[in-house]
């Protein structure tokens, strides 16, 4: 399959991720959308790594996954804390800071 197919898929995933962030209200779902964006990037890296036959792209993906895991930890912890406080993780209810 040509590279462009993978790239197109990657792009679609990325855009879906963006749309998810834009449109969803639940922080968890937004978080999943962010992961989708990361994975879109991963797919692109792997595709290019494949195209150039270079290892660097794939290594990058590993790093991304590791870092994403760390982010997950922090993110979930934050959400738990907020859920404890507010009883919800609806981000539309988080607008006391504005102006």
């Amino acid at each position: 399959m040509p590279t462009s197919f993978f790239l197109a898929l990657s792009a679609i995933m990325f855009v879906l991720g963006i749309l998810g962030v834009l449109l969803r209200r639940n922080a968890l779902v937004i978080f999943m959308s962010l992961e989708l964006m990361f994975n879109a990037a991963n797919l692109a890296f792997v595709t290019f790594a494949n195209q150039y036959q270079l290892l660097t792209g794939q290594i990058f993906v590993f790093f991304i996954m590791a870092v994403a895991a760390a982010e997950v930890a922090v993110g979930l912890a934050l959400m738990v804390a907020i859920f404890r406080n507010k009883g919800s993780v609806d981000i539309d209810q988080l607008n006391s800071l504005k102006g």
Binding site: L7, S10, F14, G17, V21, A27, I30, F31, L34, M37, F38, A40, A41, A44, F45, T47, F48, A49, Q51, Y52, L54, T56, G57, I59, F60, F63, I64, V67, A70, E71, V74, G75, A77, L78, M79, A81, I82, N85, K86, I91, L94, S96, L97, K98, G99
Partner: protein, 482 residues
């Protein structure tokens, strides 16, 4: 290339990271009432790293297969970051105690973040850029929400986290595009391919644009700035102070290096974009700051505005003749801005009664009369922000505008001038409240906070008396830029 010299190249970062890890452990044995010891240890760690940084400065070395670099640019920023770290700790100690959120991890996280920033300044590979970015960001997400149980702190943390991750997504995707376009992720490789004309121009430009967005987010450039006021407002003030200086500087560090090293050839496409972003940032930051009544938010918008001024100089980065000038001006400005910013935030820290309270402009009423020195210090910071002589802020703007005009962006400079004028109004409003409105506010200034205020205030004035040294320093930092 020996292992030893590789390690030496990242010695300051290494020290900070190691120190942080050790401190994490040591902190377990430090009793809850004596967390001051942790703070002290953290400062010592930063001081050691600063010593190491100064000791190893002056040379340009690449290490770890050209993953990292140590040059004048990174030396300059290391000092800035480490200094910011120390200042932030000095601000934090008493503040955390008063807000009853004192825990040892705070300092550890701060150290990690600083390590990330330092690495950011040294990164010479897009992997390193990404890793450093995350290393500096993740602790900051946590620190923003450090006042657990305070909803504004948590809100700010989540907002920052979600949007920060969102921005990271763009940086990643941009990196992927650049990798796809050039087949490299190391700076020399990309530059060489680009030079040889073997890149896919569309992918490359898109990648560059996405990176710009990511970094623009970090430096709080419009229209990617909207997290800034909310996060600065909700986060512990000491962290806001740190963010407003160090995180911004780190964002600029990578922006400057990536653009100077990787994208000088894209100047044609990037310059108009940068122009627009710079103009928008200056306008947005200053105009919205006009109407702020909360000092923290005011400073947040002001920090947005200052990002705009730095970007204004940066617009001409691709100019062969003056490109380096723009970097040098930006660095110098960061220094000037950082000093004043820390000072101003220190006053915020001193003023904050309960978490997030007592920060309105009215709360400043009468302070200048009651505490003339404090008032004078705040005056100095505001004047420096506004770019009025004889402060470092003046020389900063002087240099920035000079660079902008030299590169031929007169209209941008005019926008800068106009928005500066607007900024004078709201900075002076702070002074109005301090000196010209009656009020009887009591203030307990912790000696460490007082020290930060005094040192920054004196520095803002004293350095301005003979700014040549620091200009030369910034110039040198850029000359040695790889």
């Amino acid at each position: 290339m020996s292992q030893m010299s590789d390690l030496l190249t990242i010695l300051p970062v290494l020290i900070v990271v190691t120190w942080a890890l050790l401190l994490l452990v040591v902190d377990l044995w430090i009793p809850k009432q004596k967390k001051g010891l942790t703070a002290l240890l953290a400062v010592i760690g930063l001081a050691v790293a600063l010593g190491a940084s100064l000791a190893t400065s002056g040379s340009t070395t690449l290490a770890f297969n050209q993953m990292v670099v140590s040059d004048g640019f990174s030396d300059f920023l290391h000092i800035l970051f480490l200094g910011s770290g120390m200042a932030a700790i000095a601000l934090s100690y008493d503040y955390l105690k008063r807000m009853q959120i004192e825990r040892g991890e705070y300092y550890v996280l701060l150290l990690f973040s600083i390590a990330g920033m330092m690495l950011m300044a040294q990164a010479y590979n897009l992997i390193m850029v990404f890793l450093a970015l995350e290393l500096l960001s993740i602790p900051i997400y946590v620190l923003s929400g450090f006042a657990s149980g305070r909803s504004i702190s948590e809100e700010s943390a989540l907002k920052y986290f979600l949007m920060g991750a969102f921005a990271s997504g763009f940086i990643l995707y941009g990196t992927a595009m650049i990798f796809g376009a050039s087949g490299h992720i190391d700076f020399p490789g990309i530059a060489a391919t680009l030079h040889a004309g073997q890149v896919n121009p569309v992918l490359f430009v898109i990648g560059a644009a996405l990176l710009l967005v990511g970094f623009g987010f970090k430096v709080a450039a419009a229209p990617f700035h909207m997290w800034t006021p909310d996060v600065y407002h909700g986060a512990p003030s000491s962290i806001s102070a740190f963010m407003s200086v160090a995180v911004k500087a780190a964002g600029f560090a990578s922006l400057l290096r990536v653009f100077m090293v990787l994208f000088p050839g894209l100047a044609d496409q990037m310059t108009p974009i940068l122009w627009g972003i710079a103009a928008l940032t200056m306008v947005m930051g200053n105009l919205v700051a006009l109407m702020q009544t909360n000092l923290k938010r005011l400073l947040a918008y002001s920090s947005i505005a200052h990002a705009g001024y730095i970007l204004m100089a940066f617009v001409s980065y691709g100019n062969k003749q003056f490109g380096s000038e723009s970097i040098s001006a930006a660095l110098f400005y960061l220094l000037a801005y950082g000093l004043a910013s820390f000072g101003a935030w220190a006053i915020v820290v001193a003023m904050e009664k309960d978490y997030g309270e007592g920060l309105f402009l009215e709360d400043l009423s009468g302070l200048g009369k009651r505490y003339p020195w404090l008032g004078t210090a705040m005056l100095i910071f505001m004047l420096s922000f506004a770019g009025i002589p004889l402060t470092m802020g003046f020389w900063g703007k002087f240099y920035l505008f000079r660079t902008t005009i030299q590169a031929g962006f007169l209209s941008l400079a005019l926008i800068g001038i106009l928005t500066s004028l607007i900024s004078v109004y709201y900075y002076l409003r702070v002074v109005v409240f301090m000196f010209m409105k009656p009020g009887e506010k009591e203030l307990q200034v912790n000696p460490w906070v007082g020290l930060v205020i005094a040192v920054t205030a004196i520095a803002v004035i004293a350095m301005a008396l003979y700014p040549g040294v620091f200009v030369a320093w910034a110039n040198q930092a850029v000359m040695l830029l790889q």
